[in-house]
Symmetry: C2
Subunit: 344 residues, 2 copies
DNA sequence: ATGAAAGCGCTAACAT
DNA sequence: ATGTTAGCGCTTTCAT
């Protein structure tokens, strides 16, 4: 059995208080005794029992990481959808949590809050929220601190922090880039417009169309995003009398689907059709042609979100709070029409 | 503040023992009092404090989920590599854990065990092990139960369970399929042969070559697997005097890299070159041509692994234990040479 | 059928 | 500088 604090105290011939002091660095302990205690700790391979510590402190140093569910109602829920973005946010968040001596619990976004209560969680990270999730309701009786990367129904409460990109700004940047490259009729293919970031995309796209006097073409696909669904959608809008000459897709798989559809139809990308993904991913680099995308800096999102949450938990910061992480349009072959390869 | 067991006892006018009995279903409680207690619990929205329970029970109902690290030495470690397989194992494992009222902690595979101790973990799942990870050492002083999906240095201890596919069998099946399709010189491109499953692939491949009187061509690439590295490797071996006419790749990204290389060189797949991925993934379906792959049934791996671990933890099963999950070759266009599309 | 009390391993206020 | 002690919220043995 593992040694406990009494074993250490006995071996070092001190009280358990002293052992506790040595371990935590609080209180004053003579360096001689400190040495003795340290030796005892090492000898016994002592580690404080985490459950006892948590019971006393009423803190668990545990954060829940949730990705707002794609499939609202199903038994076997998908914790983590197959996307680079999520993986990178998660990896970064986890590293940061570990660094701060916190633990990340990956929870399905549709576990009910009574279950979440049972896990003894200090705070919650919610990625890609719709904003109307139950947990955001102010009257939700458990009130963990929450950090999300998108808008919520109620941003004003002292329980919520936001770390987001400026999706509207980069969407505009993207549309300007397309115009510069000579594309005149951009369309938008997106999943569920309920999500915070897809709404941003659509809003900015519509504003742009109004300003430019364009008729907006928006296709909203059911989640989760699949290449197949995007390809079908693309084929449909490309068959119009006045087809779009560029497509902005809200996710990597949608962009890839569009690419396949275009190629199937014998359209040249970027010459006949420009393609942009609103979320960058490693697969877009190796597609042929490589696909222009918005880099959202998921690592930074993950790190800042964890930081914001922990700071608030440790009373070093106050909620509500909002941070914007810079994003960046990464121009690749799929939209480089003016000097496309092999066109001199 | 949340109500505790005393609050409930007071409200129901019973002792805390009775409340505890009602909650756990142990002991005998008159149905009248039971009702009273239940009402009090509902009124106060009472949930037993999990830290107190864990302190008493010395169990945490928490499992660590680790993917054996790709990058042995780096600060910012990748928890979950970008692969369908891992994601599906994880999602399935997590659902199963939740169903059994356990919690999954995603941990970097290179946290040292003292840190793992601190998390109060009951058992560990290790995916794609090399087998020589520190944690497998019998003298490792903490002795959680471990379940992995691959061979370990020491399978004999009572701490280890294995849930694996029969990689050697499906590798042989794959090679037989290639031969049937008329491929005569299969090559193997793989990452780190240290991993349990890559070693299986390579061993079976070499046995096959010996039996068939073929000169084996094995390329071992550094981890993590990238399309770029695979493409380079493929170009190199395809430039040989006697190039392979089929390539078996140990991961989805390697297969895709090979496909790109082949297409760059003007080779027709499957006509000039057959391609197989030893791990199936959704992207292989949408590649053009679609790529033949081995379906390892990651969902079942995840579920069985969690089940095995929990059963052992709850003394319903004994270690060591081993289970084989059926895998299946999924033949697609990339190896259908005999009646390839457009060849009548 | 119900309750009193000990104890899980620790922290922190309060002596000394 | 070090020790005593009272909790933290629960489970469980043992009385009644």
């Amino acid at each position: 059995m593992a040694a406990n604090i009494h074993d250490v105290a006995k071996l070092a011939d001190v009280s358990i208080t002293t052992v506790s002091h040595v371990m935590s660095g609080r209180g004053r302990v003579a360096s001689a005794t400190k040495e003795r205690v340290l030796t005892a700790i090492a000898d016994l391979n002592y580690q404080a029992n985490i459950h006892a510590q948590r019971l006393v402190s009423q803190k668990s140093r545990t954060l829940a990481f949730q990705i707002a569910s794609f499939t609202q109602n199903s038994n076997s829920t998908t914790l983590i959808p197959n996307s680079n973005y999520f993986l990178e946010v998660l990896n970064a968040a986890s590293n940061e949590a570990t660094r701060r001596e916190y633990v990340l619990l990956i929870l399905s976004a549709d576990v009910d809050s009574s279950l979440m209560d049972r896990y003894g969680i200090d705070g919650v990270l919610i990625i890609d929220p719709r904003g109307d999730e139950k947990i955001f309701q102010t009257d939700s009786h458990s009130d963990w601190l929450i950090v999300t990367n998108g808008r919520t129904v109620n941003e004003l409460t002292s329980r919520i922090g936001i770390v987001d990109n400026d999706h509207r700004r980069t969407t505009r940047e993207t549309l300007m880039h397309l115009r510069e490259e000579g594309y005149e009729r951009p369309a938008l293919i997106t999943t569920d417009l309920g999500r915070s970031y897809t709404r941003d995309l659509a809003d900015e796209y519509q504003d742009w169309c109004k300003e430019e006097g364009l008729a907006p073409i928006i296709v909203e696909l059911p989640e989760p995003p699949t290449q197949q669904a995007a390809a079908d959608a693309a084929r449909k809008i490309l068959a119009r009398r006045l087809p779009p000459d560029a497509i902005l897709a809200s996710a990597e798989d949608l962009a890839l689907g569009v690419l396949h559809a275009a190629q199937d139809q014998g359209l040249s990308v970027p010459k006949d059709l420009g393609i942009v993904s609103a979320v960058d991913s490693s697969v877009l680099l190796v597609a042929t042609p490589s696909i222009t995308a918005v880099y959202l800096d998921p690592e930074t999102i993950g790190i800042r979100a964890v930081d914001m949450l922990i700071s608030a938990l440790e009373d070093q910061a106050e909620f509500p709070q909002k941070a914007i992480v810079p994003s960046e349009l990464r121009i690749r072959d799929s939209t480089m029409r003016r000097n496309a390869r092999g066109e001199t």
